[in-house]
Symmetry: C2
Subunit: 242 residues, 2 copies
Amino acid sequence: MPAVSAAQGRSTSTAAGQRRRAGRPSAAVLDKAGITAAALELVSRKGYDGLTMAALAKMLDVAPSALYNHVAAKQDVLLLVEDHLMSLVNVSGFEAGSWEDAVRTWAWSYRDVFAAHTPLIPVIAVLPVTDAPQTLAMYETVSKGFSDAGFPQEGIVPAIVALESFIFGSAYDVTAPEDIFESGSMADSTPHFTAAVRSSSAASGASAGIGEPGRQERGRQADAAFRLGLEALVSGLGALRS
Amino acid sequence: MPAVSAAQGRSTSTAAGQRRRAGRPSAAVLDKAGITAAALELVSRKGYDGLTMAALAKMLDVAPSALYNHVAAKQDVLLLVEDHLMSLVNVSGFEAGSWEDAVRTWAWSYRDVFAAHTPLIPVIAVLPVTDAPQTLAMYETVSKGFSDAGFPQEGIVPAIVALESFIFGSAYDVTAPEDIFESGSMADSTPHFTAAVRSSSAASGASAGIGEPGRQERGRQADAAFRLGLEALVSGLGALRS
DNA sequence: CTAGCTAAATGAATGGCATTCATTTAGTGG
DNA sequence: CCACTAAATGAATGCCATTCATTTAGCTAG
């Protein structure tokens, strides 16, 4: 089961010297932890387009087909990555402090983690938690937090699902291009929308100095929308408590 | 420019008799409307996995490479489909009636449309509205509705974005498998979550008779979470009005 | 009227991708 | 020590989006 750091160490160094000959090696080269780590590194370096079975194999200094002794399909690799990322979501607020603040901390960190990994969102949506221990652990902590805060039993899952839906959608929003709302040549025929876009970007731009690069401008707009929706959900859902 | 229904009519019949010889045909076979219609039909028959450039070409009785005279890449086909779907979203509530009801009607129909087309959600998130007239038209109507309801100019776009984020995330939730929250063998180590899952499915199952097939059970749970979050957002965001 | 330009089709590549299969080798349990 | 299983290689497969050379049709300038 272990031998993790061995696989890791090998994969980090840029290439082993001589070819490995065919046949089972004395010490196993691959395991799930090593595959997960290599996939994460590959994604951070080349993005999800660069995450191919061939590239993953190369990073682990292995033939592509070797991966299939450990995962049934590429989807399994994504699943491993996804479950690892869930362990990065901050649920510490549910251990102490108010329910509202716990939800805020959790939701912001959840969004931030997956904003950098939006291609995984479709995977999560379909992924039975059975195969994802970290994910399950997160749900347990959050559920307990809701329960302790006085939520009725039947309302916990719907409330979490509503928050998660908002979080996933908002993660996409973070990645949207800066000019997403530029109506271009049709601006004349969409006066209300054009005006609304203009004044909302002016408003978020005003909070920091003007003449900003513009790249973080999108981030600030995404943050504003997220804050707005999150506060609405926190107060609306919080009313369910007894 | 038109000749739409011609292309349409041809594409619907299952295959033309003899090969078309090389070279430009007297009447154009393809146009964007025909491509869009064929793509939609293909998706409804075979799903998004079945939407390949080759299959699309076959449905239109054309060589795959011919498509590239009308779209620059497959992404453009998805964009055409996406924009068409936006015209199916019900914004009629914003013409008359209360803001709350208009948002409810809009949000439910928006979610329902894209629940059947979740692979497009990543496309929308990155799509500048410039190239999507129907999408732009929807935003215009919704913006006007918010403005007329007394929203401050700077708050309109953030509010719409927050709602959309929730809608997209919820669309994914609709497609989740029935057993998504089945914790399986780890149930013992996640007592709070397991209990919450049990009682939430019992609660939604109780509204209709028991012993249901289970397939619509997921739909009812998704609806419950969506209703919960939507009502929270409607009341939270509605407070911004002057 | 015709020469040339552009648009719209075919058909034959190309390269990348996930996945499979036959084969080889190493350890393990009876 | 023998069979079995696990874990690697390397070669092949089939699908997919995309490109390119080529062909043909219609329009337009001179």
